[in-house]
């Protein structure tokens, strides 16, 4: 079965997490196996049980700052995932989906794949666009806008930094 990876930093009750849920259930319906990767956060949160009920795999680990001799099991798991995602992500997953541009730093250098999608889920009024230039320097990556206003906001932002990523607009949606 074809697989995708969806990356975020938490599974609380919120819009970003709802987007993960809708993407994951859409994937499942279409015979694609989603894996949810939650980085640097081991707390059980709102959507953990919901994903469990849906039989969607949730992995909580870290890909950086791995040394943790007080928790050898977690350290081994981190080593395993960091190796797997650095060297074999392209072979295992069809695409990688990072939820929120503010999460790019978690995946940019740790998950190596030719089809990474960075879902842009905020608008300018929620905070200035001050992302580093390096986030958008790979022409294989794609920014996914969820509303047309982001497109206009980002075009404006591009006047100050070069952006090599591709861009696509895809509306928010609710599965049935």
């Amino acid at each position: 079965m074809r697989k995708i990876l969806i990356v975020n930093g938490q599974l609380v009750l919120g819009g970003a997490e709802k987007l993960m849920y809708e993407l994951a259930t859409f994937a499942q319906k279409n015979n694609i196996e989603p894996t949810i990767l939650i980085l640097e956060n081991y707390q059980k949160e709102y959507y953990d049980d919901i994903f469990k009920q849906k039989k969607i795999k949730v992995v909580r680990t870290r890909l950086t700052g791995i040394k943790n001799f007080r928790s050898p099991l977690r350290m081994c798991r981190s080593l395993y995932w960091s190796f797997k995602l650095k060297f074999f992500a392209s072979a295992i997953y069809e695409s990688i989906h990072v939820i929120g541009l503010y999460n790019i730093y978690r995946a940019k250098d740790t998950i190596i794949h030719n089809h990474r999608f960075f879902w842009h889920i905020t608008n300018a009024i929620q905070g200035a666009y001050n992302f580093p230039e390096s986030y958008f320097d790979n022409a294989n990556d794609t920014i996914v806008y969820i509303n047309p206003y982001q497109e206009a906001e980002f075009n404006n932002y591009e006047k100050s930094i070069p952006v090599k990523c591709k861009k696509v607009l895809f509306k928010l949606f609710l599965n049935d």
Binding site: V12, G15, L19, F26, E94, A139, V144, L172, L174
Partner: protein, 185 residues
């Protein structure tokens, strides 16, 4: 009594709460004291929470607001809360998941634009408010003729939700995103 609900984290990036306090203040100045706002969401910023409380106190509307101080799934809200009106912060025509889910749950949802840059992009549908002035006017209209306005809001909400379902073309586009052609970079 008009019960308004706002489903949102109490956080810096969601901080359009002062606008709502001002709406309460405007209504109070016109002799309307029976409008209550319940803020439903976890407090991520004590500063934003405190500033909202302080502003309400200064404007004499403290007794018109309350906070759950925790996030609550829509299906766990009491019927009394569900019967109120849900104000959803939007960017012009764009509505986030809290608004979409609310409408899906049959909640009467008012879409309030919080970015003045885009206020001319909004449709004239009854549930959309471009500005605090329009939101204030809508609340007054609801007070004046609740049954009629409820019907109009529900109808406007239904029109909106239809735009957020996946048709075959958007499903295909999403599949293309999830399963890109590996030979093309």
């Amino acid at each position: 009594m008009i019960n308004l609900n706002v489903v949102s984290r109490i956080a810096e990036d969601k901080n359009s709460f002062p606008n709502l306090i001002e709406v309460l203040h405007t209504l109070k100045n016109e002799g309307i004291n029976d409008v209550q706002i319940l803020f439903i969401g976890a407090i991520y910023s004590r500063q934003v929470y405190q500033n909202t409380l302080n502003l309400a106190h200064e404007l004499g509307v403290s007794s018109n607001i309350s906070f759950t101080e925790t996030s609550i799934p829509l299906h766990d809200l009491t019927d009394e809360v569900k019967n109120g009106y849900f104000i959803n912060f939007t960017i012009a025509q764009f509505t986030g998941f809290s608004g979409l889910e609310g409408i899906r749950h049959g909640l009467k949802t008012i879409l309030y634009n919080v970015d003045s840059t885009w206020e001319n992009e909004l449709s004239n549908s009854i549930a959309y408010c471009r500005t605090t002035a329009e939101l204030t006017a809508l609340i007054k209209a609801i007070r004046a003729n609740q049954t009629k306005l409820d019907e109009e809001i529900k109808s406007s909400n239904q029109e909106l939700i239809n735009k957020f379902t996946l048709d075959p073309s958007s499903s295909k586009k999403l599949l293309d995103i999830m399963l890109p052609d590996k030979s093309v970079n």
